[in-house]
Amino acid sequence: MNRLSLSEIVSLAEQENRSLSGLIKERESADTGVSIEELTDKMKKMYEIMLEVYQQGVESDNRSVSGLTGGEGWRLMKYIHDAKSGGIYAEAAARAMGISNINASMGRIVAAPTAGSCGIIPGCLITLAREHGKSSDEVVDCLFTAAYIGKVIAENASLSGAEGGCQAECGSAAAMAAGAGVELCGGTPKQVSHAVAFALKAVMGLVCDPVAGLVESPCIKRNGFGAVQALLSVDMALAGIESVIPADEVILAMNEVGRVMPVSMKETAEGGIAAAPTGRKIAEYLQNSGACCPKRYK
């Protein structure tokens, strides 16, 4: 079986002068026997839920089930007018973290591509859409592009932190968001693949080291960073910067890095900050006292 590649669909889109999302919808419809209208409706529903979730996420504290985290997205959104980095980066990060907060508090989210990385794609795309007046339909189209990029990564590497570290989970989400963001902003299919490469290279080697094994620390903040990374990748690609290494090769390299990454740093909570003294203390505390640790576990 020929593995999916980005270069194949990008050159086809360039040749036929078509959008990536248009080609992708056609392909998905042919593969699944579901009409393009039905596929689009289903993706619309995903986007509607993303919009709902981000609203909840930045509106209030949303403590996690364990009590370890909460309010990251809300706090940053409250502060947004004072943001020193320019509003849009902080806004994207606030949305991404807010969605991630909802996930950690057992709210309903859209896995994109996973639950642990669910804030990055909506954080980036909702922010771009609002900033540049893009319609919901345009964003929905670009979600197909994001999904296809994810599928290429899934077939050639992995989307799971347990298999490939955080680079495979939050890194892939950022790459999907970056590629979709380029299309949303009117970039070419080639620029989409450059943005994918940038975002993945930015976190090549990033380990998955969740404190106490929970999808909270550092995951929530990494969702914020992932959204920002995606935005910068979009601008770099639109500016005409090119990736020295093609996206498909970056994906394979990411897979190889994930393969040799120690198991202690692949979602086992035995390495990275999970193994730091405070990380261990928190894990021990949670195991002994169950959920809802008080704010001061130290």
């Binding site: 508090s105 057992m106 896995a111 591509p113 197909f144 599928k151 799971s160």
Partner: protein
């Protein structure tokens, strides 16, 4: 001739559609520890074939270690109540169980090296009936039920299906498959499990179409068939 090499696993990996990448819609925080746990509960409920009055849930390995923070216990209870992984009531599953008259106890068992990292054992009771189900969550919300009452199984809940318990004698399988054929039901996969020759056989059939309720009535009349359970497919599988 050398024996044919066994495939590493015979869990059928379906081609990923794009909504497995953007999606599913689920209750957080973890596809393996929350969504998958709901599915294990769903599968146990399906196999039991009726509402249990009491359930004992035992968590092992990573499920035991990080289960509270991931809401794995709540997710399993929700699954036993028939909730889907995107149900917003999962977080209140314990109260929902109380309201539904389902008595629950949860035990965090620590490590068991014989089991998969994300393993749950569920013991269900209804009157004098009892069923022990062992399931593992293998990532992305997908699960496999690996044991039912001591029979080694590979049930995933991703298809419509039928479970029968019957005598280990010639002809029973053809009665069951014949009945399905008559009803126009196509079989996708079929597996039989027995503890030893002559012991009762458990058969789980995955089918492409839903199984008409009449199948249960027809098969229940066969003197070699002791139990017939129609297994619904996970709601959002397509």
């Amino acid at each position: 001739m050398p024996p044919k090499r066994q495939p590493k696993t015979d869990i059928v990996v379906k081609i990923m559609n794009l909504f497995e990448i953007i999606g599913p819609v689920m209750t957080g925080p973890s596809s393996s520890h929350t969504a998958g746990a709901v599915r294990i509960g769903n599968a146990a409920l399906n196999l039991f074939g009726k509402k249990p009055e009491e359930a004992v849930i035992k968590l092992y390995n990573s499920f035991s270690k990080t289960g509270k923070g991931h809401g794995t216990d709540k997710a399993l209870i929700a699954g036993l109540l028939g909730f889907a992984p995107d149900d917003v009531r999962i977080i209140n599953a314990s109260r929902e169980a109380e309201n539904a008259g389902l008595k629950i106890s949860v035990e965090f068992m620590g490590n068991n090296p014989d089991y998969h990292a994300n393993t749950a054992e569920i013991i269900l009771y209804h009157g004098s009936e009892k069923m022990v189900v062992l399931g593992k969550s293998i990532g992305g919300g997908r699960i496999v039920i690996t044991q039912v009452d001591g029979y080694e199984t590979k049930y995933t809940g991703e298809y419509h299906g039928l479970m029968t318990i019957h005598d280990d004698v010639p002809g029973v399988v053809s009665v069951v498959t014949g009945c399905l054929a008559q009803m126009g039901v196509n079989i996708a996969f079929m597996r039989m499990y027995r503890k030893r020759k002559g012991s009762k056989v458990m058969m789980i059939i995955d089918t492409d179409n839903p199984i008409p309720p009449a199948v249960k009535d027809i098969l229940s009349n066969n003197r070699h068939i002791y139990k017939t359970v129609i297994l619904p497919r996970n709601e959002d599988e397509e």
